[in-house]
């Protein structure tokens, strides 16, 4: 199983532990990641560039899709925000042939053309739809029994559901819960799991962004969660790095570790925590790891 790998900006920037754990996990799951085909791919625009110029954003995404198409490989990402922005751009490009034609004009000078065959896929969906829950279960060597985990999807991997093809792939709406159960942990449900983490306004209205972190993490904690799992590095950044500020708004430490999806899989399939940099989070994962008998 080979994919054109699109890691996104954050896994190569502020969340290097996501990159490292993805590599380790994919190797063990038999997912081959091709770096070369997407090495000149640009940022998706993250929805922010689209605020200034939607068509420019769609052009950059069409260029990335054309690069994947050229490689002949399906496109894999590990960032929910990238997934959402790519899916939305793809839906616009495929809905209007004239629009796609105009955009392809911009790519002509580089010898690229997007033919419309790419279907970008997050690792979360690859685990569900390509690897399969049964195979994942068969690879578990360390059942995470006793661990209570709150799923945190964030926004871009659940909305807009039409562009993300939820109707065609109904398992996408419960994928994180299914994976948590497959590795032997139990699910802590809470209403904030598909809400915004606050990251997009962190630099614009920090008070609101931090209050969102406080609400989500403290609710999950009150519901009994030992940790939170997210497929989005931007959610991770806000929920982890700004949790100390969130604790101040609640006047008590929240201390809820936030782990990346591949780190969860990695723990279950026997990858050592250091290799996945589980000691590099702002909120310590020590207590959580000791619950499953692992030293960080």
């Amino acid at each position: 199983m080979k994919f054109a790998f699109y890691p996104g900006c954050v896994s190569r920037g502020a969340c290097p532990e996501l990159f490292e754990s993805t590599i380790a996990v994919c190797e063990k799951l038999g997912i081959e990641l091709d770096y070369k085909s997407m090495e000149s791919a640009s940022c998706t625009g993250s929805g922010i560039l689209q605020e200034k110029n939607l068509k420019l954003g769609d052009t950059l995404n069409a260029r990335n899709f054309a690069l994947a198409e050229k490689s002949g490989l399906p496109l894999l990402t590990i960032c929910s925000t990238c997934q959402g922005v790519m899916s939305q751009a793809n839906a616009r490009l495929l809905a209007d042939k004239e629009y796609l034609k105009e955009i392809n004009q911009e790519l002509k000078s580089e010898g690229l053309e997007y033919k419309g065959t790419v279907d970008p896929k997050h690792l979360l969906w690859v685990l569900m739809e390509d690897i399969g829950i049964d195979k994942l279960k068969s690879l578990v060597v360390r059942e995470l029994k006793g661990l209570k985990l709150a799923p945190f999807y964030g926004c871009y991997i659940v909305r807009p559901s039409a562009a993300l093809k939820f109707q065609e792939n109904p398992s996408r709406s419960t994928s994180l819960e299914e994976i948590i159960k497959a590795v032997g942990a139990s699910v802590v449900d809470f209403p904030g799991k598909t809400q915004c983490c606050g990251f997009p306004i962190l630099m614009i209205n920090q008070k609101n962004a931090v209050n969102m972190v406080a609400n989500h993490t403290s609710t999950a904690k009150d519901e009994g969660a030992d940790a939170m799992v997210t497929p989005c590095p931007l959610c991770h950044l806000n929920l982890d790095a700004y949790q100390p500020e969130a604790s101040k708004t609640k006047n008590e430490p929240i201390n809820l570790p936030i782990i990346h999806l591949p780190q969860l899989i990695g723990l279950a399939i026997g990858i050592e925590p250091e290799k996945m940099k589980l000691n590099k989070h702002i909120i310590s994962t020590k207590t959580m790891l000791s619950e499953i008998g692992v030293s960080p």
Partner: protein, 318 residues
């Protein structure tokens, strides 16, 4: 078909426990809407259940409620849709609106938000005779925003309003776009200035798309907020955290193909905004200690000149 409804009740006249959940097991036609089911409950099971509805055809916008956690017009939602396998259907009043009784909410705060954006066309002259005429083409852009029936579903599920009731909110901002881009309106610049500068204005939206997902009329409020942001920046309103944030992302993707996570926070705050930059220091240092801080040395992607050319073409053709 048989269905189990779990309804959130609220009675302000109850002295002690005024909020509770109540279940109703009812038998209804397979094509029934959630509203049909609730009316059935009120008529045959429990006359004390309060709910609001009028047209029953998704025109009046009276019957917004939360069904299984997200806001919907219940007259437009079939029971079979939300309970395909006979699952329990959970019904609550809309969020971010004060509850009057059971499933009825007050729309006072909603309309106060709408009033904040002066929701009427303000032309600069009165035509000597007849009406103000606007061409079809000049109004096409407003069709989505004009579809709004003010049901309040977008406000109900807005994630910003949950933490900040001063946010103007998705419905009022979509409505604001409808006047900003109306060719007959003369206050475009004033409106954009206010929405740009106001605490709780266009830059406070998180782009979470809850409003797009729940809007029953295709208004797509968040997309209208993006239209407002684009218009504000195009009108030279670049002195806000939000506009600087968008410009910084634009600049770094053009330069390197990636977001420069080291400069983005500083450029969003403004290089000389010492007070705000100081606030970044503590989380920044924490990340540095854990070796998670983004590097100040930002690398370019291979073949970046191709991406830069795309940016240049767009800048030249704008």
């Amino acid at each position: 078909m048989n269905v189990n409804l779990k309804v959130k009740r609220f009675d302000p006249s109850e002295p002690t426990k005024n909020t509770w959940w109540q279940e109703y097991q009812i038998d209804i036609h397979k094509d029934s809407t959630v509203l049909d089911a609730l009316i059935h409950v009120r008529e045959y099971e429990d006359t004390s259940l309060a709910l609001r509805c009028a047209c029953r055809a998704s025109i009046c916008g009276s019957c917004g409620m939360k069904v299984n956690g997200s806001a919907k017009l219940v007259c437009k939602t079939r029971v079979a849709e939300v309970s395909p396998g006979g699952e329990q259907v959970v019904i609550e009043p809309m969020g971010n609106h004060p509850v009057v009784k059971d499933l009825v909410v007050s729309l006072d705060t909603f309309f106060n938000q709408i009033k904040r954006i002066e929701p009427y066309v303000q032309p600069d002259h009165i035509p000597e005779k007849g009406e103000y005429i606007a061409s079809n083409e000049s109004m096409e852009n407003l069709l989505t925003a004009m579809n709004c029936i003010m049901c309040g579903c977008c406000v109900s599920d807005c994630t910003v309003l949950e933490v900040d009731d001063n946010f103007i909110g998705p419905a009022a901002l979509a409505k604001a776009w409808r006047f900003v881009d109306d060719p007959r309106d003369s206050k475009r610049e004033n409106r954009l200035n206010n929405l740009n500068n106001e605490d709780g204005g266009i830059w406070d939206c998180t782009r979470c798309m809850q409003c797009v997902e729940v809007c029953p009329k295709g208004v797509d409020p968040m997309d209208r907020i993006m239209d407002l942001r684009d218009s504000a920046i195009s009108n030279g309103l670049t002195n806000s955290f939000g506009a600087r944030h968008a410009n910084s992302v634009n600049k770094s993707i053009k330069h390197s193909g990636r977001i420069d996570e080291f400069r983005l926070p500083i450029e969003s705050k403004g290089y000389f905004n010492i007070k705000e930059i100081f606030k970044l220091l503590i989380p920044g240092l924490r990340m540095l200690i854990k070796k998670q801080s983004p590097s100040p040395f930002h690398h370019k992607n291979p073949n970046q000149s191709k991406v830069k050319n795309i940016f240049k073409n767009f800048e030249e053709n704008k």
